[in-house]
Subunit: 325 residues, 2 copies
């Protein structure tokens, strides 16, 4: 019997799902809209139907052993999505319980960055590591910590909110209600804000002067930087300096072997890695210098959130020391 898991990534706009084997091959992939259902139950039923449809295509000698879900504000301990700011359904959504009752297999929920960290450990570049951090650079900045081979959930199930460490207490306004949080500088949105700050402060000509804030994206900034645009290049330097400074703080907390960068901004390659590493090393306590690697995630593709979520199930069985079947 071939054992398979379901990985689900619930985003604000789209919910992606896939059926994944132990080696990380995605046998089937699907997609439903997150936003169309007024009630959470409607969304859940639509998701359950899509899954049941996809099960029909599976080989007869296979079985689904569990469901993993990554979602912002997903609480590992309760299995609930709690007060998500990016979904239309408010309050407490008992997602794990609903999936378990519907499909009679374990359902493991965590936040999307934690799912990425477990994914990196199960399928990615952290396969042989026990102590590492994954930093996801998307609309915001998320992070997941693995310490001693175990995902760090914390006492309240909300560990790893690096995006809300402080760069400048009187700095940029953040969605969380504070000011100067790391994710207001280091994220797809953060680097856009930095480009606009640099365009405001300086006189240099830049191809980015012709693009509105709403239309600007990381890819455009990357391409401009590769063409030599001074403002675009400086925006990566500025972003990497702040990320490097803050990673130096994270390193002295948990002493990781490596920090993986994941998501759009990290795909700018050396443009972001070089200043990040340089400023991390410069700001590190000397005892730690030269010891901690900053690496790209191995899961830089469309299926990554699904792989991350599905890996929660393998991790769940590994932790329990349980046979899957």
């Amino acid at each position: 019997m071939k054992e398979l898991t379901v990985g689900i990534d619930i985003g604000g706009t789209n919910t992606k799902f896939g059926i994944v084997d132990r080696e990380g091959n995605v046998l089937h992939q699907g997609n439903i809209q997150t936003t169309v259902h007024e009630e959470f139950k409607g969304f859940f039923d639509s998701m359950a139907n899509a899954l049941r449809e996809s099960f029909k295509d599976l080989p007869s000698d296979s079985s689904i052993v569990g469901i993993g879900v990554g979602a912002a504000n997903g609480n590992y301990y309760t299995g609930n999505i709690e007060h998500a700011t990016n979904l239309r359904w408010k309050g407490i959504l008992p997602l794990s319980k609903m999936f378990q009752e519907e499909f009679n297999v374990p359902c493991i929920l965590t936040n999307d960055a934690n799912a990425a960290a477990v994914g990196e450990m199960v399928y990615g570049n952290a396969k042989n590591m026990k102590d590492f951090v994954v930093v996801t650079l998307g609309t915001g900045l998320g992070s997941g910590f693995v310490c001693g081979g175990i995902l760090l959930n914390g006492h309240h199930g909300i560990a790893g909110e690096l995006g809300h460490t402080s760069v400048n207490p009187t700095g940029r306004y953040c969605n969380c209600g504070k000011r100067g949080c790391l994710e207001t500088y280091v994220s797809a949105t953060g680097i856009k804000r930095t480009v606009y700050k640099l365009l405001a402060d300086h006189l240099e000509p830049s191809e980015l002067r012709g693009i509105s804030f709403d239309n600007l994206n990381t890819k455009m900034i990357t391409d401009a930087a590769l063409r030599g645009d001074i403002v675009a290049k400086e925006s990566f330097e500025y972003t990497g300096r702040i990320l490097g400074m803050k990673l130096a703080e994270t390193v002295v907390h948990t002493d990781p072997e490596a920090i993986f960068l994941f998501g759009g901004l990290s795909q700018a390659g050396e443009l972001i890695f070089k200043p990040t590493i340089r400023h991390m090393e410069a700001n590190l306590m000397p005892l730690f210098r030269g010891k901690v690697k900053v690496l790209p995630s191995a899961l830089q593709n469309q299926a990554a959130p699904i792989l991350g979520a599905s890996s929660l199930v393998w991790d769940h069985f590994a932790k329990k020391g349980m046979e899957v079947a």
Copy 2:
């Protein structure tokens, strides 16, 4: 057979040791000077002799099951003291191996703040906690993290160096070679520096104007503050503001249930706890507000470092799931 452990706290000046039972009772306590021996072997022999002497007084139905040692730069993985800045013997000192060979019992080494964290878990206020942080406020600022009931050692065995997170990259000079590290502001030395800064900046009369930097200590600042001295009071406010700001960053890393403050500065009670808690809450990401306790350590007495070190042995057996005897 009554099982006993040895706890040893190696400080720059004095080395304290004690024999401790499972309940944390110290049956015997002793002390040798750390500084008199030119060679590390001489210090070790003197320590071993003192231990053998102390074993003579023990009840005949008791046995020593292990030795725990807390020392700055003690590496849990290697059992070595590595490049300690506070000892006269340089390089790598294979302490655990030497004790194991001498007494034929396990010897567990870690840094002093980690020992304090395990001590809090085994004997102190963290008995029923799985996720907490201990911050030791002595000459410097040390910290130990327990996550999921396990001491966080990190990949290189040097996790938890909160004293070297950054308050201000162009701030006070630190022994580590950087500038503006947390311990240059928040520690027994840090608050002295703050008193001197405030005396330099302000005109207020203060009884502390009559005391030299070398003679000033935390107790004097505490007593002056309790008598209403404006500079002394403000120095606690200043210290608590910085500590609170930085603890807010630590909280979003590991999501602890509580943070324990340990050591001289923490014995100033409300003078330090009130501003620390106020500024931690003000700087916390809203999701975490009101969730994390800041508490005094339960091990605020002379025997605390010995208890902490001895508890490493019980923790070692608990982790291995081994019978002690």
